[in-house]
């Protein structure tokens, strides 16, 4: 089995496509190039393989890299909704924009989106020990960003935009993790349970590594990005519902 395998996905249903990808990984392929992807969902779902690189050429459908644990996936095009859904480990790099629920419930690994994401980005991301998921968005995020976030790091850069996030519901119910937004965020856009702070030097040190990777993937200058101020959005409390209930 050669190290590099090319799969032509033209007119192929997602199940045989995923089967081919799995077979290639099982046979020891280290690089899998998938050509002519057009809307196939679930690419790389539940796929393992820490040393596997997958290059997706075209526009994949929803749930790419869902439950994925290990591989490094690069998409040369936009993605439909929920890329990186409940992802466990690995890297997903999207050369374009992605739809709603990007990085939904992500538990580990990193997702980099060059342009914009849709609604509910990074919603319900969570962390456990060394598993600390990261979502970096180059462009703009829509409403309900980082809602119910329980862990991990979410960074929105708003490159070439007036605002990185200009829609409501940021961090509603957030009880762990951190959201970093380049520039300022209107206080009124924050959801219940979220509070904003100015990112300090330690924070910038924390996000530097991911900004550098982002810049590296998409050809930007990381120092230039890091020069701007960042707003940090964190939980007002680790127990947002602690005072909501009384006993019968």
């Amino acid at each position: 089995m050669p190290d590099t395998i090319t799969i032509d996905a033209k007119d192929m249903h997602y199940t045989p496509l995923n089967k081919k990808i799995r077979e290639a990984v099982n046979d020891g392929a280290k690089e899998i190039i998938i050509e002519n992807v057009l809307g196939q969902r679930f690419i790389g779902n539940g796929l393992r393989g820490d040393d596997v690189e997958i290059k997706v050429k075209g526009v994949p459908g929803g749930d790419i890299a869902m439950f994925m644990s290990g591989p490094h996936v690069t998409v040369y095009g936009n993605c439909d909704h929920a890329p990186g859904n409940t992802m466990d480990a690995g890297v997903l790099v999207i050369h374009g924009s992605s739809g709603d629920a990007t990085a939904h419930s992500m538990r580990g690994g990193e997702v980099y989106v060059r342009d914009d994401i849709g609604y509910r980005g990074g919603i319900h991301m969570k962390a456990y020990h060394e598993k600390r998921p990261v979502l970096v968005v180059g462009g703009q995020a829509k409403a309900f960003l980082g809602e119910y976030m329980a862990g991990g790091i979410l960074i929105v850069l708003g490159m070439n935009q007036d605002f990185a996030v200009n829609e409501r519901g940021i961090g509603s119910g957030i009880h762990g993790g951190m959201i970093f937004v380049r520039g300022d965020v209107d206080e009124n856009l924050l959801g219940i349970g979220a509070k904003k702070e100015q990112a300090d030097m330690d924070d910038l040190k924390t996000i530097r590594i991911y900004i550098e990777k982002f810049a590296d993937y998409f050809g930007f200058d990381s120092d230039e990005i890091l020069k701007s101020g960042f707003t940090k959005i964190v939980p007002a409390s680790a127990r947002p519902f602690a005072n909501k209930y009384c006993w019968e």
């Binding site: 644990s69 909704h81 962390a127 009880h175």
Partner: protein, 503 residues
């Protein structure tokens, strides 16, 4: 504080002649009801939840407990419960949290349905003499099957059969998560289902490694919080269940308070120690039936189409249409949880007032799926307050393939339905994470109790079927001719599609 205290609910009496001051009541009560004062045990009534642990553990039967009669001025509308809920909320301004199932006195439809039995016109069947087929397969069935003739008299199946769960009895144990209940409680039930040849649900709390030996009898659950969900978890389960709703609290999510997220719970759920575990009401990647279909297929794709995928919904008014959508979403089974379903914690107003009885929901779903010609393509699992084998038999006759039991399995392990699960102090070691309480469950003994319960119900089910002249569970399923309505109104009879007694 103008409201003042409310009257105590329970009165405990200790027979001082019988009491030998062994202090077991003090040791056993996790709510701190008892203390010793000199040569006497003194109870604090106000702390009592009527969990009965003290009574069960007293070696001299010296303790008695009675529910104290209402000593407010009697009133048919402003009951004790109504008044005390108001006092509680006037004091706190919060949502009242409750445990266990619906505590309102709604009529139980199961109790207004009677089963039929054969007499002389057609013979009954004696399960001792005749084989009774109680084995059930849960999962997608093909519309038709095709076979190839290999050689004369020898055939092979051409149709690819979707993966199904093979149940030796139609009684399974529903989803109660690690976190809501203890590991020992889960372990006991896992041992029991493994022995009996049936299945239990993990709940949404992930799968603890101590349950791995029983994974072939576990249905792993994926809820909106996605706790403990990774590809290993999905691959370990015999089936995967997407939890959309729960009978005890339709339309809202779950919330395990940080106090209950102990070291091992945090590890299993894959969340930081003592952080709240919040499952919001919706799955944020599901906003339509098409999105649900996408999640079903996504789970199948991730596990290479080797596992059946169930979708659990609460019984609500438009349950039939929803179930039809689920059936068309590639799901293998739809789980309908009625409004008497148990819970570790639910807002009381939801537990008692939202949803519909499972009896009506099963019938409505079965009818709708038949109408659409897809009933055979999806299994129906019913749950929510099933108390005995008669309820199981009636649920199947109304249209279920199998049932989940929850509270009944907990009662088999000692639970006395005190309804204080949300406090995490369960003295029976069930709804708690406190090691000293959890260790009160001997998993082998409790497993034996649960096994006995399921075996007992299964024997009764076979007898009831035999009496009705039915020798296979498939002939009982949806066989509403074996049911008659007794003192049910015409409207409900129409929904259930059963005849009246005497007809």
């Amino acid at each position: 504080m103008t409201i003042g205290s409310t009257p105590v609910k329970y009165r405990i009496k200790i027979d001082q002649d019988l009491c030998m001051l062994c202090e077991r009541c003090i040791e056993n009560c996790s709510y701190g009801v008892f203390r010793r004062e000199g040569q006497k045990i003194v109870p604090d009534f106000r702390k009592c939840t009527a969990c009965h642990r003290c009574i069960a553990m007293c070696p001299r039967d010296a303790i008695t407990l009675e529910e104290k009669p209402n000593d407010y001025r009697s009133h048919p509308l402003w009951t004790r419960e109504a008044r005390e809920a108001i006092y509680n909320q006037a004091n706190s301004g919060r949502i009242i949290l409750s445990g266990m199932g619906n505590a309102k006195d709604y009529p139980v439809i199961f109790d207004r349905l009677v089963l039929d039995a054969c007499q002389v016109t057609n013979p009954s069947i004696d399960p001792l003499r005749e084989p009774m087929e109680l084995r059930t397969y849960i999962g997608k069935k093909p519309r038709k099957i095709e076979i190839n003739t290999v050689k004369e008299g020898d055939y092979e199946l051409k149709t690819k059969i979707a993966p199904n769960l093979k149940l030796e009895t139609p009684v399974m144990i529903g989803h109660m998560s690690y976190g809501a209940i203890s590991l020992n409680a889960q372990l006991a039930m896992a041992k029991a289902v493994n022995k009996v040849g049936t299945f239990m649900g993990t709940g949404e709390g992930g799968l603890h490694k101590d349950l791995y030996p029983y994974q072939n009898n576990m249905i792993v659950q994926i809820a909106s919080g996605r706790f403990g969900v990774d590809i290993n978890y999905l691959e370990r389960g015999a089936a995967i269940e997407i939890k959309i709703g729960q009978g005890a609290k339709p339309g809202i999510g779950g919330h395990l308070p940080g106090e209950k997220v102990a070291e091992d719970v945090s590890k299993t759920r894959m969340i930081p120690l003592h952080s709240d575990a919040i499952s919001p009401a919706p799955h944020h990647d599901i906003y339509s039936i098409e999105d649900l279909a996408q999640l079903v297929r996504s789970l199948k794709e991730a596990t290479e189409w080797k596992k059946p995928v169930f979708v659990k919904i609460a019984a609500v008014h438009n349950v039939a249409a929803i179930a039809a959508g689920i059936a068309k979403s590639s799901a293998d089974a739809v789980v309908i949880d009625g409004f008497r379903g148990g819970t570790g914690a639910a807002p009381r107003v939801f537990r008692d007032h939202v949803g519909i009885p499972v009896e009506a929901a099963i019938a409505a779903v079965d009818d709708k799926l038949r109408e659409q010609g897809i009933r055979n393509e999806v299994s129906i699992i019913a749950s929510g307050g099933l108390r005995d084998s008669a309820d199981v038999t009636k649920a199947i006759a109304l249209g279920a393939d199998a049932v989940y039991i929850g509270t009944a399995a907990l009662i088999a392990m000692g639970c006395r339905v005190c309804g204080s699960c949300y406090r995490g102090l369960c003295p029976w070691g069930i709804a708690t994470q406190r090691p000293e309480l959890v260790s009160r469950i001997n998993t082998d003994e409790a497993a034996q109790n649960v096994e006995n319960l399921i075996n007992g119900w299964t024997l009764e089910l076979a007898e009831l079927m035999g009496a009705a002249g039915i020798n296979s569970i498939e002939s009982l399923r949806g066989n509403r001719d074996r049911l008659r309505g007794y003192l049910l109104d015409e409207g409900i009879m129409e929904v259930l599609d059963v005849k009246m007694i005497g007809a």
